[in-house]
């Protein structure tokens, strides 16, 4: 197991180096540099030259890369060109609201998607199966920014029961924080639930076809034990893999949901950074998102190996 985890980590190292080069290259791809952005509208060649040497922009490209990498490895991601605050502080502040949203959405999608998927697989061909299949198509095809808008229309404008946007921390004001979290988490969670439901249904159907299930039934085990003890364990492997691959969907989706509901968070921070061309912040965020996403994938890989011992042997 230990060897397996180490091998997976080693696999991600070249990718991580690639990501760091890409992120470094980001700011160099655009015409002009940071100094041009700071000193836009003014002509100050002397100051510009001084700033360039201050930022190390007059060095060779590979020197700049290693300088940047060195700072990054020490946790220094630079400062935002607009707020003047360290990039890491900006990310840290935005992380809380995004985590609240992503975890609640994940919880909703697991609670809705997996049981519905199991039900659809067990009652295969029934009206319930078709109905849930249809709803899943709707769920997958509806962009979160539109379902979010429709939720606002119903619950904030017509029924006037929930606030249409904003953010309060769940820790400092639980009630209002929760009221503000419901709609964004639903918009995102139901979207992901549709995906989980489809995966659960197909992997359950796959598992139920296998011989050991017939054996379990023939032994006289109750249907509940067969489904939730025997079938679930194997079906979960596929569900976890697919869900893991699609987690990016959840991370990306939360960014859009944040904009719809005017919540602070990683996605909103990235959008503002992009709109303002705040390169240190864009670089820091991209690196952060890539590392988070890779870590999540690594965890999924490991969980996958825990659930299915055969995987550990193969790789």
């Amino acid at each position: 197991m230990y060897v397996f985890v180490m091998r997976r980590i080693l696999f991600y190292i070249p990718v991580l180096i690639g990501v760091s080069m890409a992120v470094f290259g980001l700011a160099r791809l655009v015409p002009g540099d940071v100094v041009d952005i700071i000193l836009s509208h003014v002509q100050m060649p002397e100051q510009a030259a001084r700033l360039r040497s201050l930022f190390g922009l007059d060095k060779a490209l590979h020197e700049q890369y290693f300088d940047w990498l060195g700072h990054t490895l020490r946790g220094d991601l630079g400062t935002s060109l607009f707020s003047g605050r360290p990039v890491l502080t900006e990310i840290w502040t935005a992380l809380g609201p995004t985590m609240e949203l992503a975890f609640t959405a994940l919880l909703i999608s697991v609670l809705v998607g997996i049981p519905l998927g199991v039900l659809a697989a067990v009652k295969r061909g029934s009206a319930l199966d078709y109905a849930s299949g249809f709803v899943a198509y709707l769920g997958i095809s509806t962009p979160v920014f539109w379902s979010g808008t429709i939720l606002i229309l119903f619950f904030s404008i017509w029924l006037n029961v929930l606030p249409s946007g904003g953010y309060e921390s769940l820790w400092s004001s639980p009630v209002q924080g929760f009221r503000l979290l419901i709609m964004p988490a639903l918009a995102l969670g139901l979207n992901f639930a549709a995906l989980l439901m489809r995966v659960t249904r197909s992997s359950f159907l796959e598992v139920l076809r296998q011989e050991y299930i017939s054996t379990a039934r023939a032994k006289g085990l109750s249907e509940r034990v067969v489904l939730f003890k025997h079938a679930m364990r194997n079906a979960m492997i596929t569900i976890m893999t697919v869900a893991g691959v699609q987690l990016g969907f959840l991370i990306g989706g939360s960014a859009i949901v944040e904009i719809v509901f005017m919540r602070p968070g990683i996605g909103r921070l990235l959008l503002t950074a992009v709109l303002r061309r705040d390169y240190p912040l864009i670089q820091g965020l991209t690196l952060f998102i890539a590392i988070t996403f890779m870590t999540v994938n690594l965890i999924v890989d490991v969980m996958y190996a825990v659930a299915d011992p055969r995987i550990r042997m193969k790789i």
Partner: protein, 276 residues
């Protein structure tokens, strides 16, 4: 009804999916003929009118006809979707072909670049790319193509790897066929069905990506009638004129459902790996 929604009769989703897709193509091709008004005509006397016989989907804050804008929006969605998926397919599968066929360092290099692209959630990668490239229709297509390229590279590479070890490729090689000949005559035709399925499914994603970026204000610029942008423009008027956001969203959803159904149906019918 069961047949229409059914997922068991293999590939029966092709019918409703194909119907929706044809409807959108029809709307895009005949947009000027179908729309009662021009999508950009501003009429200050008819602002925020609710849907009626005069304006089927109502009018927006500039008095523009929402129905005409939704119809014209199909051109942007389909246009950007098709162009970007086509570019992603051509470049991605070419890279995958080279990686799978030649192996060694080409394979390693190409696939690591693809891994890097894969390591950032697609919509966020597109967002960052738009930030670098700047907002325009061409850049929108470029950004979306880059985001979806790795999928095609991976699929093609995997297929090429498994085909390369098969007898007919060995046979062709032993008769002295050139690499280019083997790739073009033997590998490409075998990978094509898979690519077509993947293109259809990814069209749904590309259309969603275009709409999302336009919603965020990074894609198409006003007054272009992009569905994503229309939904975001309607956000402020949601209380007084919900039709401004509701109808473009419905059009977007139906289009995406259409491509999803069609893609899944094609996969069930054509994917050799699913053939029993």
């Amino acid at each position: 009804m069961k047949r229409l929604l059914g997922r068991r009769g293999r590939g029966s989703q092709i019918i409703p999916g194909g119907f929706l897709v044809l409807l959108v193509i029809f709307a895009a091709l005949l947009a000027p003929q179908i729309s009662p008004r021009s999508p950009s005509t501003i009429d200050s006397g008819r602002q925020l009118e609710s849907p009626s016989g005069g304006a089927l989907f109502g009018t927006d804050n500039f008095g523009r006809d929402v129905f005409s804008r939704v119809i014209h929006g199909s051109r942007i969605s389909l246009g950007i979707g098709l162009v970007s998926v086509f570019v992603a397919t051509v470049i991605g599968s070419l890279l995958g072909l080279l990686a799978g066929y030649y192996g060694r360092w080409i394979d390693w290099g190409v696939m690591r670049v693809m891994d890097v692209l894969f390591s950032i959630p697609s919509i966020l990668l597109a967002l960052v790319l738009m930030g670098i490239l700047g907002s325009s229709l061409t850049n929108l297509a470029i950004a979306i193509s880059i985001v979806y390229m790795p999928i095609f590279a991976r699929i093609t590479r995997g297929e090429v790897l498994s085909l390369s070890s098969r007898d007919f490729i060995e046979a062709s090689r032993s008769t002295g066929a050139r690499d280019l000949h083997i790739m073009w005559r033997h590998l490409v035709p075998n990978v094509l069905p898979l690519l077509i399925i993947q293109m259809t499914i990814n069209l749904a994603f590309a259309i969603l990506a275009e709409a999302s970026l336009s919603y965020l204000g990074l894609g198409t610029q006003p007054p272009a009638p992009s569905w994503g942008r229309m939904i975001s423009e309607g956000r402020i008027y949601l209380g007084e004129a919900p039709w401004m956001s509701v109808f473009p969203g419905l059009a977007l959803m139906l289009t995406v459902i259409g491509f999803n159904l069609l893609g899944d149906g094609l996969r069930d019918r054509l994917d050799p790996r699913l053939r029993e």
